[in-house]
Symmetry: C2
Subunit: 789 residues, 2 copies
């Protein structure tokens, strides 16, 4: 047993467990013990709970606006609700004496288990056991097993069914409830208020045949329950199964019918077999995605927890849906995608299950319409991707995101109109996908159009400064969100230049190799050759905040260094209210050098063209000024700390990042807005810290570079990567890197280690002592591929 | 007797009077009853008062920072202090019964008079009479006459001298006081804290020789008094004269000596003669500046009050000093110049005393260094004039001007870095001066350099939008200060285009006519021919917010019309604190169409190229949304209302503007900052409302246009103007305009009335019926002079 946090431990590095019922932690544990499959996320709550304990089952693709508030995913009526009475006494972990309580999440197969022994007033000890999973094999299916057992003979009353009393963040989304029983199935049919999306929940409960019980059906306007009353003997175990299915009219035309059929068909398969089907797919996923650490069970578990959360947040089944910033753990951030998706969540898939990365990028292709609408609306051309992107790609980010807690007035934040880097983030990732997979067909079919439209947007957003002879970006927010209304953000400008290079490169490559297809794209999006010339001019003359010759620092944006140089610690003392937003327009950080999160450092995670000394100096400078008020921050610092050889700091930030949710360090409320739930970006970043940070992986123009910095405490770590459709297992210890080309590979790949290039043939292995040389190999990982200093 | 306000009345349209001692009005009346001469401003307080009653004598050219707060003008020790005891009882208007009280300001000669009858506890009625003026003939001189008179024999104790207990807004400016008596002169020598400017006050009191008194000298660290004790008989009048003189080391090398000599020399001249010298100069000023209104004594008086305040605010004697936004009435706005100087204060002089206008513009020439420093500091080229400009032209405007009264935090306003229009305002006025005077020598000696440097600044500030093929101005504040961080402000963009045209025009004119002098300027400021080509490109392609074809509206800035359309009245209800600042960053007006003051309408006051229908539609639209939170606002609306023929509204705004200080409608505190005192811009604008509004004067390329809209109530109004060194008296009644070319003129001038051009010869008059034709004559008044539609 290894304790991960005060209340969470693991027994085998594949599970997390919790023994306490801590009222204050219910909202966090609901997220931490989440099960899901990318279609639904079911919070880690107990079967007898309701909205008071933040019960939620969030369904993908159900974006809807409730009561004219924010558009967000809907929470389905809870089909697993089960409440127990013993001898007429309603059992509750809050009121009854708890003799034993165990909650467990099996990360390997996404199974939630609960076991509680409660003592009644009559001194009966009752054990409740339940288990549930959101099937990876059947995404609409939510099976549960529920047992009770008492140490004395007693009367039992179980109320179980579909409970409408679920948690909603911004108003009630569902209306027109229809609750009914038919053919042994309980159903709740309902519709969303704004769009009228039908969202139906059907459940079938399989009760044991050997126990006789009184049966009643109990209905309210939004719930339907079966109530069973019976007597059990001492030591007799009562177990029932519950097969629930959820469909929306965005999934199928007839959601109710589908849910019913799904339930009936699944019911025929036994619970055990449903679980087997689920487990098999999980086993296959982990085979590709798992990272094994020798000698560090706590961080091994936390790492798997993060990978797990990244997996269940991802709509792997779809090319039309995004990864929510909080996955499917709650409605915060509207269940929709930020730049997090490409920069934080996606790389794990890109190197392990590139087809999932592709799906996510096709989602961006499918939402080009929304991005183009947004651009037009704001006076630009091309694709300005939504800061918060749901299904259609229309901007979901409210203009008034936070509140001034001192005055109670809403704050007009400019995430949705000034934070433009999301567009180059996506375009860059499209190209990154190609660099890793070699899948130029994807570029032709989808990527080119995204990249062209983004280049077009960047051009139309830029200003040319005649007197300085350069293009600039004016009035931005960079990744560091505490500084709005800034010019020439290093991250945005460097990245935009890369994207312009990529766009030009694709244009000329297609012009040579796929001329007709290029013409078709140009025709479709009305792209003129002159625009490519414009992009070339802009690429040549786009202002990039320079590396200062003396101190090697890159200024985060124009004038940043002129701001008050202080620390997050000092700023905290200036708060008049702990919930104050630190940023725009007059939060405590606005006119200081204190930043919310990695910005220049984030740039280094994406662009490998910077010298180690530059990374090191900037790391030192910015880290001291970073509040890490964003869950996106520690991972970037971890990666760059590792890359510059600060192993201890890298490991500390790695742990910080891994434990963001487990420790619940990040606050749930900022500027009056709930922002809790699972920080899926950090979950995705966990993979990157290990592979890009500790293994030091960079993609070169024709191969892969590793420059390991293994944490001291680890004996070794092992992960898999897929590159150009070839799978490799990579193991790194304190001396060697061992690269295995797996069986089914069909061609060799070059690996660069310590400045030396190694050819690793199909099915073979290479053991390379990476300590030989500490010199650096520099290369662009994005546009050009050519060596640059 | 005509009542101007509740408490202020006039007896002859040349004075204002007040009979009440109202504690709440002391601060306002101190400003209203101000005397001054452009060198000093002495507040309208009683001789026995001190800082508690906001006593102040503000001295020009003494900008200094106190206690590390704001740089502002200094308040000299008060040399007129005189306190009375009768029978041991200290007399006070607050404690004694007031039998009679009269305070009067003689506007014609700038003389303050006071007469008070107080009753002592012993039932003695004591009359105090005093009179003072700040000499226009001897700017350092502040003579006073003081008498007492009692209805019973009594013992009198008079304490009179230089009192250091004066009002300071932001900390104590003076230190190292030296107080002494020598040769019958009392002196206080003192130094400013920051710059060590020596500021000395010397006073000589001339007591009557026929009354015997006990004499004591009384000194504190910052004050020196003479104390006289004597008995007077019933009905006996005791009068003394006080000749005070004030000098600073910025005036002369030895201020103390100069003050002493000045005192001694003036003392030889009798008080009566000093007054005569003063009155004579005033009479001459009024001969040129006065506007006579037939049949409206109240507004006649108020108008004269405004002209008077504009006069005493102006450092007419200097080419190195500005007009403060509050003149010399207090330290608010730091005693320094805003754009108000050129756009509001100066035109009155330009058409009556152009040499004073010239001085003010030479001040801008002399502060080019400060403007260029500011430009460099903010990353621009050329001259970016200070938003608040003292002697050196260095920026005095604090970055943190207002306070968020809800949180107590300072607000970072951007008056000093984003409100760029001050530079084109000045450059435009330089050209305007030339258009009215024909003084091209001034352009060669001073104006060209100002205009070139401003054009240079505008070019370096602008951005070129490649995709739209146009220059833009980004991140501005226009005249309407509630909207910061806006793009393409109509006022700024139109005006800037005019200035570019002017710069180009001057360049080519000098290139033809004054090539060597042009070369010398170009050499001195390192101006390249290429820059003129750049300006031409910019002029051609500078984006101007268009007149909407349908509704004729001009958008105040990009996106203005998208803001919430509401009214000042509604916004007022949203205030959480009455002192809240309405503007940046999150005041109630920021995201609405409510504006603080005229902006597009102000543009029409400067640029005559807009059709009447355009002015009319915009007037209607913007007026409904204007809070008139600035004293600069009503005058612009008055002028444009008059120009479009809305006589009633024009007259209402005229009165609003005239009574801004008399009525004390504008609040003294906004966002925690004292902004009271005399609104000199409105005072200067009063002249413009009459001449540009009611007379409809516009300057054409070769002459003057009048298009009168006389207020209904007036029989006629008469004013003088000087144009091309020719003086004219213009009288307008409801039918005719009568133009008299005065005696000493030496050439004819063309006047355009109702689309017809009239030649008015030297010494002749023309009576023209202006009602014939209501058609408009359009012409640019600034750069081009050519007719434009």
């Amino acid at each position: 047993m290894y304790q991960l946090t005060d209340s969470i431990y693991t027994t085998n590095s594949w599970n997390i467990k919790n023994k306490k019922v801590d009222k204050d932690q219910i909202i966090n544990n609901g997220s931490i013990f989440l099960i899901g499959n990318g279609y639904m996320g079911y919070r880690g709550t107990l079967a007898e709970w309701n909205f008071d304990q933040y019960v939620g089952c969030f369904i993908t693709d159900t974006y809807d606006k409730a009561d004219n508030k924010w558009k967000e995913l809907c929470n389905a009526p809870n089909p697993l609700y089960t409440k127990l009475k013993i001898g007429g006494e309603s059992l509750s972990v809050f009121n009854n004496e708890i003799r034993e309580h165990n909650v467990q999440l099996d990360l390997r197969h996404g199974v939630f288990k609960r076991s509680t022994v409660l003592k009644t007033k009559d001194n009966i000890e009752v054990q409740i056991e339940s288990e549930r999973f959101a099937s990876l094999a059947n995404l609409h299916l939510l099976p549960m097993k529920y047992s009770i057992f008492a140490d004395k003979a007693c009367n039992v009353k179980i109320k179980t069914g579909i409970d409408g009393r679920v948690w909603d963040l911004h108003g009630k989304h569902l209306e027109k409830y229809k609750t009914f029983e038919e053919d042994g199935l309980l159903s709740v049919q309902t519709f969303t208020k704004e769009k009228g999306i039908e969202l139906d929940v059907v459940t079938k409960r399989i009760f044991p045949e050997d126990i006789k019980f009184n049966y009643t059906l109990n209905k309210t306007h939004n719930s339907i329950y079966e109530v069973l009353e019976f007597n059990i003997k001492k030591g007799e175990k009562f177990t029932f199964y519950n097969i629930a299915s959820i469909y929306s009219s965005n999934d199928v035309e007839k959601p109710l019918k589908n849910a019913r059929v799904n339930c009936e068909e699944s019911y025929v398969t036994s619970y055990i077999n449903l679980k087997k089907e689920n487990n098999k797919l999980w086993d296959e996923l982990w085979k590709d995605i798992d990272i094994k650490i020798q000698n560090d069970p706590i961080n091994q578990t936390a790492l798997r927890f993060n990978l797990y959360q990244n997996i269940i947040a991802t709509p792997m089944h779809s090319q039309k849906l995004p990864i929510g910033a909080r996955g499917l753990s709650c409605q915060a951030y509207q269940g929709a995608a930020f730049w997090d998706q490409e920069i934080f969540n996606l790389p794990m898939y890109l190197f392990t299950r590139p087809e999932i990365a592709k799906n996510l990028l096709i989602y961006r292709f499918n939402t080009l319409g929304g991005a183009k609408d947004k651009a037009i609306k704001l006076g630009y051309e091309g694709a300005f991707y939504a800061w918060i992107s749901g299904k259609t790609g229309q901007e979901l980010c409210p203009s008034y995101f936070f509140k001034d807690v001192l005055s109670g007035r809403e704050i007009h934040n400019h995430f949705n109109d000034w934070q433009i880097h999301v567009s180059p983030d996506i375009a860059y990732t499209v190209w990154y996908y190609y660099k890793v997979t070699g899948d130029f067909k994807f570029i032709i079919d989808y990527g080119a159009e995204i990249i062209f439209e983004v280049a077009r947007f960047l051009y139309s957003h830029s200003y040319y400064k005649m007197d300085k002879g350069r293009f600039e970006f004016i009035r931005l927010l960079g990744p560091d969100e505490y500084h709005e209304n800034i010019d020439n953000n290093a991250y945005t400008n460097y990245l935009s230049k890369s994207v312009l290079e990529i766009a030009i490169k694709i244009y000329y490559k297609m012009n040579r190799e796929n001329k007709k297809k290029l013409e078709r794209i140009m025709d479709r999006i009305d792209l003129k050759e002159k625009e490519i010339i414009d992009w070339e001019k802009m690429k040549e003359n786009l202002y990039l905040p320079e590396i200062n010759n003396k101190n090697k620092l890159i200024e985060q944006f124009d004038g940043y260094f002129d701001y008050e140089d202080t620390t997050p610690h000092i700023l905290k003392k200036r708060l008049l209210d702990p919930d104050e937003y630190w940023g725009w327009p007059n939060g405590v950080a606005v006119e200081t050098q204190v930043i919310k999160q990695a910005d220049v450092i984030q740039l280094f995670c994406i662009n490998n063209a910077f010298d180690r000394s530059v990374m090191e100096k900037n790391y030192e400078y910015y880290e001291a000024r970073t509040q890490h008020g964003s869950s996106l921050s520690p991972s970037a610092y971890a990666i760059i700390a590792a890359k510059v050889g600060l192993k201890g700091e890298a490991f500390d930030f790695f742990k910080d990042s891994l434990f963001i949710d487990l420790d619940n360090k990040n606050k749930s409320i900022s500027g009056g807005t709930f922002i809790g739930g699972i920080h899926t970006a950090a979950c995705g970043a966990a993979w990157q810290i290990v592979v890009k940070g500790f293994a030091g992986m960079e993609i070169l123009s024709g191969g892969i570079l590793f420059k390991p910095h293994i944490p001291k405490r680890w004996e070794s770590f092992t992960f898999k990567i897929k590159y150009m459709d070839q799978k490799f297992r990579v193991q790194i210890n304190h001396k060697n890197i061992i690269i295995n080309s797996l069986k089914n590979n069909d061609h060799f790949v070059y690996f660069t280690i310590s400045d030396q290039r190694y050819k690793v043939n199909t099915g073979s292995s290479k053991i390379i002592d990476y300590r030989k040389d500490e010199r650096q190999v520099k290369e662009w990982s994005n546009a050009d591929g050519g060596k640059k200093q």
